[in-house]
């Protein structure tokens, strides 16, 4: 049998036949629209951000310092108040559920003065309506943060940005549609229309930050209705309204201990510095912690290589290779692609090849 014969046999065994699918009946276009309406949180320049949350998809964050931020198309954002019951039941309005200093399940929580001080600079928004569940939270360490809510087929995202980026974002949104003046909890903003079921509101800056809300899945009437339920709350109420799995500043130490339990720590790794990670859902927290560890091991690997320190080089390579056994990455693997990206980079470095762009892939500062 010649090679041509073999190839012919293989070709004939091809299970795909052009035309077998026939008319996709619009499914191709439908999928395109679904994908392009996915929130893309990498649209703006922010602090390094491993990915968006969701059950799919990776977002590599192109670390900070994008001076062109103002020209970039922006993000979604919306603010809502919500509160999720521990039993996954319907959310209760925050105003009735979340007493200051009280966690969702009634567990007392003590916030560190430093965390509160940082957070109190930026009162938050919530959706004061049952049914909204938080699906994603990250940031909120400084002036930026993202929180996403879902209620059946509707999604509402809110993004906070430093006020000095307002003009750039606003100018960008003017390319989206003509602005329409609206108010959210008494505060003025502009509404922009992306499509018949996709709207955003950019609120005027206040206290050094501004918020952009974006919602998809409902028409303008529905969007207006949701906006009437958005309320401004103090940070204690906001933190108390977050579901218990969210890693708030008060929960960082405890959660970090769990995450780091089976992870070899790089020399001089500062675990206490993880307290500056803000407020994150478990996936985002895991990504940020493993980013710190991975970046530190890569830096150590580079140092050892420059210094000709073979033992240290081997230790760093072994540590990176061991990431395939880190439990947190396996727990995250069903939710997104951060673990795959991490392993891909770690494996390359462990094999002696520092891939270009590793710092962007892993969010190394």
């Amino acid at each position: 049998m010649t090679e041509e014969h073999v190839d012919r046999l293989v070709r004939d065994a091809d299970p795909y036949r052009p035309g077998v699918i026939g008319d996709l009946d619009g499914a191709k276009q439908a999928l395109l629209e679904e994908i392009m309406s996915e929130p893309t949180l990498d649209r703006v320049a922010e602090t390094p951000q491993p990915r968006t949350r969701g059950r799919h998809g990776l977002v590599r964050r192109f670390a900070g310092a994008l001076t062109a931020a103002a020209a970039l198309i922006g993000i979604l954002a919306v603010s809502t108040v919500f509160r999720e019951q521990p039993d996954d039941g319907p959310a209760a309005p925050a105003d009735t559920a979340a007493a200051p200093g009280t966690a969702g399940a009634g567990t007392p929580v003590v916030y560190s003065p430093v965390a509160l001080q940082a957070a109190e600079r930026n009162p938050r928004l919530l959706i004061d309506e049952p049914g909204w569940k938080v699906t994603t939270v990250y940031g909120f360490a400084e002036k930026q943060g993202t929180i996403a809510f879902r209620n059946d087929g509707q999604q509402l995202d809110m993004n906070w940005y430093p006020a000095d980026q307002y003009d750039g974002y606003h100018a960008d949104r003017l390319h989206v549609s003509a602005p329409k003046a609206v108010k959210v909890d008494g505060w003025p903003g502009d509404l922009f229309r992306y499509s018949a079921k996709d709207f955003a509101v950019m609120l005027r800056p206040r206290d050094g930050v501004f918020v952009e809300l974006r919602a998809g899945g409902g028409d303008r009437t529905e969007f207006d209705r949701i906006l009437t339920h958005v309320v401004r709350v103090d940070v204690r109420t906001w933190l108390a309204a977050l579901p218990p799995e969210i890693v708030t500043p008060a929960r960082v130490d405890e959660r970090a201990t769990i995450v780091l339990a089976d992870i070899p720590l790089p020399p001089n790794f500062d675990k206490a510095a993880l307290r500056d990670l803000g407020t994150n859902d478990p996936y985002q927290f895991g990504a940020r912690v493993t980013s710190r560890v991975g970046c530190a091991w890569i830096a150590e690997w580079q140092r050892a290589k420059r210094a000709g320190d073979d033992a240290a080089l081997r230790r760093a390579a072994d540590a990176l290779r061991s990431s395939h056994r880190w439990q947190v990455l396996h727990q995250m693997n069903d939710e997104g692609d951060w673990p795959e990206v991490f392993w891909e980079t770690a494996d390359k470095v462990a094999a002696g090849d520092l891939p270009a762009g590793y710092d962007q892939a892993l969010g190394c500062a």
Partner: protein, 188 residues
């Protein structure tokens, strides 16, 4: 600097051009045809999220194959989640592919069984070459190995498959030749 709109337009073009090849790639490699919808959806979602750094036009399909390969690996580990995206595509595939009589021809089953016995990388080199029609350089790009390694593995995969299929089918006879001969074009 490229604007966001330019990136979106580029993504649309890539999607329009590469949807079918990606769907074919996925359909060829999943046990249940409708799972191809998840693979395609996840692959293009990754591309959408990374639209700012998609490779050049000539390389983008190879890059998508590479992404799809990782998505599939996850799928085969049982890790893929049913996408909420692409439900309509899933339904279309389910109704269209379910009754393909061509998929159960014994010779083809024997060849597929033999393919399943090849090493993963060897098999993928052979399939990318024959099913996707890639050159060794291109297959190398998808698989992240050197073109030389692709050639070596391709040769090995063909030899191994020849042995495996020879055991099952005997010497390929004229029937197979007839089945696969190009149809003569009248008037040319």
């Amino acid at each position: 600097m490229s604007s966001g709109t330019e990136h979106e337009d580029r993504f649309r073009r890539v999607y329009a051009a590469d949807f079918e090849p990606l769907l074919a790639y996925a359909l060829r490699r999943v046990a249940q045809p409708e799972d191809a919808a998840d693979v395609v959806a996840e692959t293009f979602l990754v591309a959408w999220r990374r639209r700012r750094d998609l490779p050049a036009d000539a390389e983008v399909r190879l890059w998508l194959y590479g992404v799809a390969r990782r998505v599939l690996a996850n799928h085969h580990r049982g890790g893929i989640r049913r996408q909420r995206l692409g439900e309509r595509l899933r339904q279309r595939i389910t109704s269209a592919v379910g009754a393909d009589p061509g998929s159960a021809v014994p010779e083809r089953l024997a060849v597929r069984a033999a393919l399943a016995r090849l090493g993963e990388l060897d098999r993928e080199v052979l399939l990318l070459t024959v099913w996707e029609g890639l050159e060794p350089r291109e297959a190398a790009e998808v698989l992240g190995v050197s073109p030389a390694a692709v050639r070596t593995r391709l040769s090995r995969a063909r030899a191994r498959l020849r042995d495996l299929v020879g055991d099952d089918l005997g010497s390929p006879g004229h029937v197979l030749d007839v089945l696969t001969a190009p149809a003569p074009k009248e008037g040319r």
